[in-house]
Symmetry: C2
Subunit: 328 residues, 2 copies
């Protein structure tokens, strides 16, 4: 099934079930007010939501909405935890080579992961308000999963059962701040403004055979101002989501509603399939020509992130948003 | 006024108002179910809570409880964001000298800050379940503030008005993971298990003249297994909370309920006043004798963190807790 969050003035929004073809939706606030409430009571809420989804996919239901016209928030407008991995080795190793991150010498030995802000996410069509064009504004197209509660010490073998929903993310970065903040060792604050998510979050069964070994084996389609930027396969994760979840849960419980991200999607043949963030293209340019040619985003620029199934249908709907100057 | 959270089986607990002398409490769930709800509606809830606090401090009220016998959670059992600074220069510079963190060369130029897990906090008397004694288990005694919503771009001059409550924190660390995770540049995941907080969070006026320039000018009293470990003055923050909040809000809004921490309290004369974490004492030993003598915590060890006012009364109550092995 596919779930979305309608803006209704409340901080967590109103839960909706969306038809598989993304054409129609119906509020499901009788099951749980919000998706956060649903994930916190998944064992009881999921069967009831599935029943609504089945009726919606079989024909018209009372109170259904035109999904294209809905006022959409991100599936979780806020949640208790957002942990983002960097699971694509081709990306990490390129950045390490070009930017001489000698500290990343055990890149394939264990996952890289940072803790991001989870209090203020953006919806798929929201403008991204940012302080300055001088900050190196970048998009990052990623997969992300929403988990139920994961107890401390959960093994990779037992982690995948905790994945309840899958969605797309635009983990925006301010690259001018990224390396200085990495040098502190404390991770990113200035470099990581609000993350945006796709119109719907879907249960793994919606992915069919594309969901394998904690990965989604489908291209991530990224365009920038209407021009294709890349379509790397998201299945190339060096660590699957089960490994990322187990890494996150080594010394802590993960509350229900925790979002785990894959990091920027990247493939070994990035010179052919393109990239899912500008920083990677710039690194390729530095390797190939000695200097970066592609500039970062300007205010008014638009990024679009989408994933199609084998028949060409959008699975999650598209993230399609502009960067704009922040105003107080 | 002083606020606390009583455990009632719900994830956010039940809001209570506590008498200034910490002897008595009364539920305030008629104003807001939880402290998180109260901070999210602070303009309307604070005056009503203050009225309850005044009646409680003036004499007995209906339904009052013995606070010493209450089943206490942390003031916020979970919240949307936890950002911890490292604002004491004497600590940062010692660690830099001893552990050769050459990347921290602009330590006094701008605050260091990491994003921590905010989904699963511990109460002041809770056992701290941890995976292994081999991880270098450490306590860190800190001040922390709870803010209302802080808009992106808030200046230090305007940041202090967003501080609604102040409390103590034990930001436990697993030191064996700390430096390896710092070397990735991504910040800490394994090194940062659940943080614990004091019995009450207090409005800044409860601190009287000790609340100055975004700092609490009082000693942080730390003992380990019943022996005094240190009493450094918390007023020595190199950056006040206004600077930490403004740093956090450069490229993001901070939701109401955001907790900002000071980092381990530390003073220039740490050889005299002692330390607020074991790692600092070990660094002093390395400087003085060439090697660390003090070992990290063992299962069963107990840490106590408290702050007394000028008359010797406990302001926040004490964090007093044991480390124990995690069980699945």
């Amino acid at each position: 099934m596919k779930l979305a969050t309608l803006r209704d003035g409340s901080p967590d929004g109103a839960l909706a079930v969306v038809s598989t073809d993304l054409s129609r939706a119906v509020k499901a606030t009788g099951v749980a007010r919000s998706l956060l409430e649903a994930i916190e009571s998944w064992d009881s809420s999921a069967p009831r939501l599935l029943e609504i989804a089945q009726r919606l996919n079989e024909g018209n239901v009372a109170g259904e909405l035109d999904f294209a016209a809905a006022n959409l928030g991100p599936p979780l407008p806020r949640t208790w935890q957002w942990l983002d991995g960097s699971a694509f080795h081709s990306h990490g190793e390129l950045m390490q080579r070009v930017f001489k991150h000698s500290f990343l010498d055990d890149l394939r030995a264990r996952p890289l992961m940072y803790q991001g802000g989870s209090d203020d996410f953006l919806g798929p069509g929201d403008d991204m308000p940012l302080p300055s064009e001088d900050d190196g504004i970048d998009f990052e197209a990623e997969l992300a999963v929403i988990t139920d509660r994961v107890p401390m010490g959960t093994s990779p073998a037992n982690a995948l059962e905790h994945v309840k929903l899958v969605m797309l993310a635009n983990d925006a970065s301010l690259r001018s701040h990224a390396v200085p903040e990495m040098k502190t060792g404390f991770g990113w604050i200035h470099a990581k403004p609000a993350t945006s998510f796709s119109p719907v979050a879907v249960t793994p069964d919606e992915l069919g055979t594309a969901w394998q070994d904690g990965r989604v084996i489908l291209p991530m389609r990224v365009s920038w101002n209407g021009r294709e930027f890349g379509h790397p396969d998201a299945g190339a994760m060096g660590f699957g989501f089960h490994a990322l979840i187990a890494h996150a849960a080594y010394s802590r419980n993960l509350s229900a509603g925790t979002i785990i991200g894959s990091g920027t999607v990247s493939n070994d043949d990035y010179r052919i399939v393109g990239s899912a963030c500008i920083a990677e293209r710039r690194a390729i340019e530095i390797e190939d020509r000695g200097h970066a040619v592609t500039e970062y985003m300007r205010f008014g620029d638009r990024v679009r992130i989408e994933m199609l199934d084998a028949r060409g249908n959008s699975i999650f709907g598209a993230i399609d948003q502009r960067v704009v100057p922040a105003t107080r």
